[in-house]
Point group: C2
Chain length 221, copies 2
């Protein structure tokens, strides 16, 4: 059981990564609002998850309504939609924790690191939203592959970066609720590692012909 | 036993990381030239290693002489000395593999990622040296702690990045000779991950009060 139950909005929550996290957190007991540009699609997925888990705590909504309804908001939209999405939700996000999962992949060379000018697209989000929002970077390296299989032990640590220690700790607890080990990885600038690592993991998947390369931090045992 | 024996120059080889690699590669059978601005200090360390291992294949020399003598050159100097060192050895390095271990740490905030303008200091070295040198990025994340204890199983994978596949494979073989697992991590631009990860590992060491955090790639088993 989670230490604390939250209402969590997952923006882009109908996608592979967001929906996997949604299902795992709903299973752990949190109240989930799946946010999508298409509220009907979000509600259909919410209904599916409620049915699958035999619960009634997942709902679907548009992006703005989802962000407004939650204490913790998770951003799992494509890189191209990241900044415009948070800009449009500036008011709804104030005072909250925003967990940004965005990876700055630039197709077609997604297995090659191509960082944005600020070195971290999450740092750019923090600048956009101001200090009233506690932005935390996490979950970029967790393969969506099998995230929806609740019995599957995903072997990937979650690097958790953010400028507020309590917010980092809240996200480390949420990682545990999803069956993952969260690691305090430092201030938000350190998000560069998680954002660039995904391209390396894609390269490794292709080179070694495996479905879901991840990372583990060693030396903690 | 290594697949192939090389003569390896380790520039900055009297430092903690370089000397640890030197000892492990000498133990594996390679011929080692420890290169230092202070050739006397390099020779003293070479004598120590030869005595310790009961061999006679480690020597010490100045930087230029060491680079000229080897087929494979390893750069383990501080970030501040990186570019000036390779510039001075432009001629000696042509036609060779240069393994760059440099981490762009900017004191005093070494636990915070602060990438150079090109996002990767190793990419800058490749640009400086031109295509006649096969630059490979590796070993940035391996803690020097206990590297000189030959019986110690270092738990850290080596991300190996470079634009030439054969050179990446040669470095992966050298990682194995040092008792480490090398991973093909892609083109040289992907070196950004290894270069920024060290700051995160320093943060983790401090936060969790451990001596040698490292990383392992999961999903390969």
């Amino acid at each position: 059981m989670p230490q604390q139950l939250h209402t969590i909005a997952i923006l882009g929550g109908t996608g592979a990564e967001g929906s996997g996290l949604a299902l795992r957190w709903a299973h752990a007991g949190h109240r989930i609002v799946i946010g999508s540009r298409d509220p009907g699609k979000a509600q259909a997925l919410a209904d599916e998850f409620n049915g699958k888990l035999g619960i009634d705590r997942v709902s679907g909504a548009g992006l703005q309504q989802a962000a407004a309804a939650a204490e913790i908001v998770v951003l799992t939209v494509p890189f191209a939609a990241q900044l415009s999405t948070v800009r449009a939700l500036h008011a709804e996000l104030q005072g909250k924790i925003l967990i940004d999962v965005t990876v700055p992949l630039v197709p077609p060379k997604v297995s090659q690191v191509q960082l944005p000018a600020a070195d971290s697209c999450v740092v750019a989000v923090q600048s956009e939203l101001g200090e009233g929002v506690r932005v935390v970077s996490a979950f970029q390296n967790v393969s969506a592959h099998k995230l929806k299989d609740l019995a599957y032990q995903v072997r990937c640590d979650v690097l958790v970066c953010g400028n507020d220690k309590a917010a980092r700790q809240a996200v480390i607890a949420l990682a545990a609720d999803a069956g993952l080990r969260g690691i305090d990885a430092g201030l938000l600038a350190n998000s560069t590692v998680a954002e660039s690592l995904t391209s390396v993991l894609i390269w490794i998947n292709r080179t070694y012909k495996i479905p879901d390369a991840g990372i583990a931090i060693t030396g903690l045992e």
